[in-house]
Amino acid sequence: MTDLHSAALIAVMALVTMALRFLPFLIFRNRETPKYIAYLGRVLPYAIMGMLVVYCLRGVSFAAVGSWLPALISCALVVALHLWKRNTLISIIGGTVCYMVLVQMVF
């Protein structure tokens, strides 16, 4: 692949990402945010975070124990750690190290 094409690909991805981020602000710029939109803004974060968790786990296969068990154990550990310490860093690092050890050494 030529460098020029690679640079063009990066430019396209940057522009589309930017467009998606700016669009809502441009549409609702000079008027009161409609009630319905404000409601969505309030409840969407909860729903989207749920969606992103599923998105991250989308590749997990229930046909292979080596795929779903490490993910399940590590997610459970993240939840447990977070309920216990409520420290984001500890939860993330604990869960990730657990997952890496499981997929590299156990399964």
Partner: protein, 232 residues
């Protein structure tokens, strides 16, 4: 005055710490991956400065090395990053009146920055716009530094990094638990999970994000109607 500015920088820095770990690790992973396909430091940094979207940049490594067409790149970005439309919608009020900081705040609205700023600025912060700006800027610095580190580390790592991508999952699970604890109404969170699982089963793992977002919007709208009639 100077003390207050310092205090604000400190407050924003502490707030950004959870993302620091995630971004340094994920950024490093991205740099390593990109380096392994023959794209070095400058490419990694350019992507992290201009695209600045975590999961999209991981995908971009494949698109670049495979020589994808511009149309494919545009559509893939549209699909993977469409959720940012929702982030924007839910930040319209918070980012109102943020003045000169606003363009960068919108540009830098990633999943993680969103998860930090959607809760608002902490009590006692007099200039929320500047606070959001500092949090956003710190986050992008971590991401760029991580990418550069990964690119440099490249092939010299003494251990296998297999499974390191789980840090993204762990981050979202953590935010999910945090939100669950902070809200009495769990219906929106459950709507998100249920819609995603349903669409994943129906549309498959490559195409389920867009339908999920439609379904979430529909379900939340129906839920508001029900809530509204109860209060009337």
């Amino acid at each position: 005055m100077l003390d207050m500015k310092k205090q604000l920088i400190k407050t924003a820095f502490v707030a950004s710490l959870p993302v620091m770990a995630g971004y340094l690790v994920l950024g490093t992973g991205f740099g390593i991956l990109l380096q392994s396909k023959g794209y070095g430091l400058l490419w990694a940094m350019a992507m992290s400065v201009f695209i600045y979207a975590g999961s999209m940049q991981y995908l971009a490594v494949d698109l670049l090395s495979g020589g994808a067409s511009l149309i494919t790149a545009a559509l893939t970005t549209l699909m993977v990053n469409a959720r940012h439309l929702f982030y924007g919608v839910s930040m319209i009020d918070k980012y109102k009146n943020t003045g000169r900081h606003k363009p960068y705040l919108i540009f830098a609205l990633t999943d993680e920055t969103y998860s930090l700023n959607c809760g608002g600025a902490p009590e006692g912060v007099e200039d929320p716009g500047r606070y959001y700006f500092l949090v956003s800027l710190f986050n992008q610095c971590y991401w760029v530094i991580g990418s550069a580190l990964g690119s440099l580390l490249g092939t010299v790592l003494p251990f296998s990094t297999e499974g390191i991508d789980f840090s993204l999952t762990a981050l979202f699970v953590t935010v999910f638990v945090e939100q669950w604890k902070s809200s009495k109404d769990h219906v929106p969170a459950l709507i998100g999970v249920a819609s995603a699982v349903l669409c994943l089963l129906v549309f498959g793992m490559d195409n389920f994000l867009i339908p999920t977002m439609f379904l979430i919007t529909l379900a939340l709208t129906a839920y508001k109607k029900k809530e509204g009639s109860r209060h009337d």
